[in-house]
Amino acid sequence: MASAPSLAASLNPATTSDDVQRAELSEIDASTKWPALFLLASAVGWLLIGTVFALISSVKMHSPDFLGNYEWLTFGRTRTAHLNAVVYGWSVNASFAVAFWLMARLSRSVLRHAGLLIVAAVFWNIGVTVGIAGILIGDSTSIEWLEMPAYATPLLFLAYALVGAWAVITFRFGKSKHIYVSQWYILAALFWFPWLYSIAEIMLIFAPARGTVQALVNWWFAHNVLGLWFTPIGLAAIYYFLPKVLGKPIHSYYLSVLGFWSLAIFYNWAGVHHLIGGPVPVWVQSAGIAASFMMVIPVIVTAINHHLTMVGSFNALKYSPTLRFIVFGAVSYTVTSLFGSAMAIRSVAEITHFTHFVVGHAHEGMYSFFTMVMFGSIYYIMPRILLKEWPSAKLISLHFWTTAIGSTLYVFDLKIGGFIQGLLLNTPVLAHKFGLQPGTDPVPFIDTVKVTIPYLQWRTYSGILMTVGHIAFAINFAWIIVRSAQATKTQPTLFRTPPEMEVTAQ
């Protein structure tokens, strides 16, 4: 294999990739080992931290006195710490690892400059740690999705820029002539995100826009983090692992390409639907609603494609841990996206906006879709970079069922509770028709709060269920790292015997 090239050589277009031989999959996987391990271990750590903050916040919603004596554990801080830990800690770390592991495999080239990625990963994790500590001591910026104080963000941006530069290098040196649809998704995500992030930081933190423009930029950014970062990475993983695990090509590659380009063109405009009914020019809102509806195209196209790929292979769900999580995530993507488009309709938004319905929707997207897909990807990646089998099938099963049932319960619970809350808040006539209140006069605000309490309690129970799953996952994750390779007798999660795979890069 070609020796590690200098950074300058990689950046110089004059150096062609002709001298790079086509790498074997095992070589490629081996070259990703250290950065992937570092990122995934950090991700799992943040997942656990984020889960603790989630549980604390959830309990506080129905028992406000819980841990009420600690300033740094007040709701405004724990909820924000939860969001930032699971989004920037768990999700971004996991998506970095999955994105570059996929990139290396799909461009058929060993991972170049693994050191660069590790440096980026270290910067990223220091940035997230500083940011969350800042939130807990009370330095939150109060701008949703950008709560980390200004002293943490340059580190994060630097890390992102390094990862973006790395992706371009890997892409250029790829030996695969065809750009597979997953590569399009990953490239798009890596290209757009630093751009989004820097503009949002400048316009909101360093030289803040005022008034409604601030809200507009805030939601343009916040929705695009989901739409142009997490969604593409999640879909890239589904488009790779679904056919790869089944051993059959995606049903229609044409549809997958159509899905990508329609997402790329429409998603950027959809964020304004968070401000429907707000003091923003109506034409801007209408543009956001139109874009949200155009998103039905990529969603339906992707759903048809994934489902028709699965047809005839449902039996495979029994034997593949990766497939279970990936299919659960793919189905959730369809459901949550269609809900998202529906919620952009003015008359629906009138009921669901500012209620727990939105929280349920957000978790369906970030958890039932994205996080489950990341779990599935990690189950596939770890045995291949460590050349070891997962130690416990039971823990994997436990992880799947607790998180699948827990997240489903969570989403249904909050959507129902939130909808009732919204009916009482905004549409007394409709609420009366549904038998939720005696008269057609608006009810006192406190009644709209009280009605949500049982749903909030159920949210905590479903949260406990998911926590059990996360602990099972973390145990299995730590176990596969520390167990000795010799202890493995069979290699069912692998497809070749270890000696063939033990080829190291360089």
Partner: protein
């Protein structure tokens, strides 16, 4: 502050769109939008051919390890 939106945020959104449209143009010029069957099969090779599942629960490997004839 209306000017701020019109001067920065809107052009940025338009630029985003423009970058996407350009990428689509580039892809069509490079032939990425032709021969879709080949595209779908590009993730398989001799090492991991079509017809062979690649992931199982540990300790529960079924008898599907025989590689399929078609590739």
């Amino acid at each position: 502050m209306d000017w701020f939106f019109y001067a920065v945020a809107l052009p940025m959104a338009v630029l985003f769109l423009a970058s996407t449209v350009y990428a689509l143009y580039w892809a069509s010029q490079k032939g990425q939008l032709r021969d879709f069957d080949k595209g779908a099969e590009s993730i398989f090779d001799d090492e991991e051919p079509i017809g062979r599942p690649t992931d199982f629960f540990p300790g529960k490997s079924p008898a599907v390890k025989t590689p399929a004839s078609k590739s």
